[in-house]
């Protein structure tokens, strides 16, 4: 079977986003979910074949360093699957008007296409394009919350994001200036001679800052609390769960393929540590759930950055585990915050109204903290054992940061759990609390229940998932295989040198 099907990862959702104005109402509502289902199926298929061997596709049949290349290893395939599934679970089924619903669905599809593209793209500038695509769709969705505060927050997000993109573009320009190619495999091939110097590191740093905006990297993550507090919960879930992971994946790929240098790792490690500290501690003081989740996701992504800074496939395995775990948990928590999104004090006694919802929250919180045997524990275990094995003391310090922030995380998450199970708000003296109905709607419960089912399935299957995870990390770490797969004839690179 030809691997040209790879292109459908991007093409199908985009087609489903473009076509609706030409179609009658009944079909256009189904087009998006259908496209996502197909992409999910494709993801499963790709994951199965790529576990054996990665595949690549030269778009337009142009030989690789000239045209754009898609490269799918098992990591990318898994992310393709995750993109489709998570988007499907967070699909906007309802809108204020039919027109706005159309728009939101289109933007969601565009976002899914961009995320899929980020997962599979093997070209630096193409990554930038998909990143911008995800960004613009994200801005649109974030502003779609409809409140004035959402617009201001989105504007600030947009400015920061655009500045980041600018830096990333400068970084790409620098790389092209030095290496004369944009193909990641080609760059990986050339990097030891051309890019492993201060010049290349500077370019990497610029790209790190630029793409870090979406990955909630410390320094460029101030947008997150504002956006997550104002946007619709589903949008926050998409941004925090999905988009951040894809930006992270791209950065990790760049780190592994082109810049496997201690300085680059050091930057990632330090920024990750700072992100973890600031995020988790800020969440400790958060007064409302949405911003608490925002800060907590900043902290979690900081952990992922720390993990990716560990050299070798062990670090990649840890980073992937953390990222995938966060991908399962954070969207579900945001879904629960759709109704429970207000101040913490309003939640008093909400467990009595929605015991199932409260139980789900407790489950996700426990997994986030890393209580065995839930998947979060294995992610944390991989991270810590990876950190402890490094000779550099900075890694040990990072381990300490992880431990301390986990305690802080447990305290604020359990504060919410305590609040949920505490005295009923209806009994309290403040009359304005009585008006709020904290019962979760069935759709929310179904959505986060699906995530919970996935989480529990992963927990049960953990012993059987370690081998694929290790395999994925190995594949991702194998830059020689990447180069060999994308540029099969060494003659190609010889000819262009």
């Amino acid at each position: 079977m030809s691997h040209s099907l790879l292109a459908l990862v991007v093409a199908l959702p985009l087609l489903a986003a473009f076509l609706p104005p030409l179609l009658p109402g009944a079909i256009r509502r189904l087009l998006g979910p259908l496209a996502l289902l197909l992409v999910a199926a494709l993801g499963v298929y790709l994951w199965r074949i790529t576990l054996i061997e990665p595949v690549s596709l030269a778009l337009g049949d142009f030989r690789p360093p000239l045209g754009v290349v898609f490269y799918v290893d098992s990591v990318a395939a898994l992310f393709v699957l995750a993109v489709a599934l998570v988007t499907l679970l967070l699909w906007p089924w309802r809108g204020d008007t039919s027109e706005n619903l159309d728009r939101k669905q289109s933007l969601t599809l565009v976002l899914a296409a961009a995320c899929g593209g980020l997962a599979v793209s093997g070209d630096l500038f193409n990554v930038y394009v998909f990143y911008e695509l995800a960004a613009v769709a994200g801005y649109g969705l974030a502003a779609g919350g409809g409140t004035a505060a959402a617009r201001v927050a989105t504007f600030r997000y947009l400015i920061l994001g655009s500045l980041g993109s600018l830096l990333a573009l400068l970084g790409i320009t620098l790389i092209y200036f030095r290496a004369g190619t944009l193909n990641l495999a080609h760059l990986a091939d050339l990097a030891p001679q051309t890019l492993h110097d201060p010049f290349g590191l500077a370019a990497f740093f610029l790209i790190l800052l630029g793409l870090g905006v979406k990955a909630e990297l410390f320094l460029v993550n101030t947008w997150a609390p504002e956006i997550y507090a104002t946007a619709e919960a589903r949008v926050s879930a998409l941004l925090a769960g999905l988009v951040s992971k894809l930006a992270l994946l791209v950065l990790a790929r760049l780190l592994v393929l082109v810049f496997p240098l201690p300085e680059a790792r050091g930057a990632l490690l330090i920024l990750g540590m700072l992100g973890m500290l600031t995020g988790e501690f800020a969440a400790f003081r958060a007064r409302d759930i949405k911003r608490m989740l925002a800060w907590s996701s900043i902290g979690q992504l900081g952990a992922a950055f720390i993990a990716f800074s560990i050299p070798g496939s062990l670090g990649l395995a840890a980073g992937l585990a953390i990222a995938l775990h966060h991908l399962l948990v954070k969207p579900a928590l945001f879904l629960l915050a759709e109704r429970w999104g207000g101040g913490l004090a309003r939640l008093a006694g909400a467990a009595r109204r929605s015991p199932f919802g409260a139980a789900l929250f407790a489950l996700f919180a426990l997994s986030l903290i890393g209580v065995p045997p839930l998947p979060g524990f294995w992610a944390k275990y991989l991270l810590l054992s990876g950190l402890a094995a490094q000779p550099d003391n900075l890694y040990l310090l990072a381990g300490l940061v992880v431990l301390v922030t986990t305690v802080v995380e447990a305290v604020y998450l359990f504060r919410v759990i305590g609040m949920l199970h505490g005295r009923d708000a209806a009994h309290s003296e403040k009359p304005q609390n009585m008006a709020l109905d904290m019962t979760l709607p069935a759709s929310t419960l179904a959505g986060s229940g699906a995530f919970a089912a996935l989480l529990l399935a992963v927990a049960l299957a953990a012993p059987w998932l370690t081998a694929p995870l290790a395999r994925m990390a190995l594949q991702m770490n194998d830059s020689a295989a990447y180069v060999a797969r994308v540029l099969p004839a060494t003659a190609t690179s010889e000819a262009t040198k």
């Binding site: 201001v152 600030r156 400068l170 320009t173 092209y176 504002e226």
Partner: protein
């Protein structure tokens, strides 16, 4: 093109980037922020084109094969076509982002009646807090002793609610 001219172009492009970023940081007016962004992007795009420039014996040639000329003789002195294509893409991306930014600015102005970034941010924080039902966090500029800020009057808050035309 001489070395000097190239350097001038480089300095010009970098100057645009610096001006843009500086303006982005210093401007408080949303519209100026968008303009500064456009400026910085223009600078970055210029840099990208400049990177693809090639000095050759017969000067630089645009990567277009004029009809009747032999392609093989032209291509060794043509400038790099890839950055030009990239710039085309980058420009269009910039246009889209700027249009979106402007529309957001219009809406923000419509809701809050100001284009000042600081004022908008303060109003946004207030809105977020009142929507969540939490006490607003003390402003970082508040005195260290924690003297409470004067409460926002109910009337002013109502005017901020979304959907009400200003």
């Amino acid at each position: 093109m001489s070395e000097f001219a190239l350097l001038t172009l480089l300095i010009g492009a970098l100057g645009l980037v610096a001006l843009g970023i500086g303006g982005l940081v210093l401007s408080r007016n949303l519209f100026r922020v968008v303009l500064a962004l456009a400026l910085a992007e223009a600078g970055a795009n210029l840099l990208l084109v400049l990177v693809g420039f090639r000095q050759s014996a017969w000067g630089a040639i645009a990567p277009i094969i004029e009809s009747g000329r032999d392609a093989a003789s032209l291509t060794p002195s043509m400038v790099d076509p890839i950055p030009q294509a990239l710039v085309l893409t980058a420009i269009v991306i910039g246009v889209g982002v700027q249009a979106l930014a402007l529309s957001l600015a219009i809406r923000a102005y419509g809701a809050y009646g100001t284009l000042d970034m600081n004022a908008l941010r303060a109003r946004m924080e207030t809105d977020i807090d009142s929507a969540a039902g939490t006490q607003p966090a003390r402003c970082q500029h508040a005195p260290a002793g924690g003297r409470p800020l004067p409460p926002i009057s109910a009337g002013a808050r109502r005017a901020d609610t979304p959907g009400t035309p200003a």
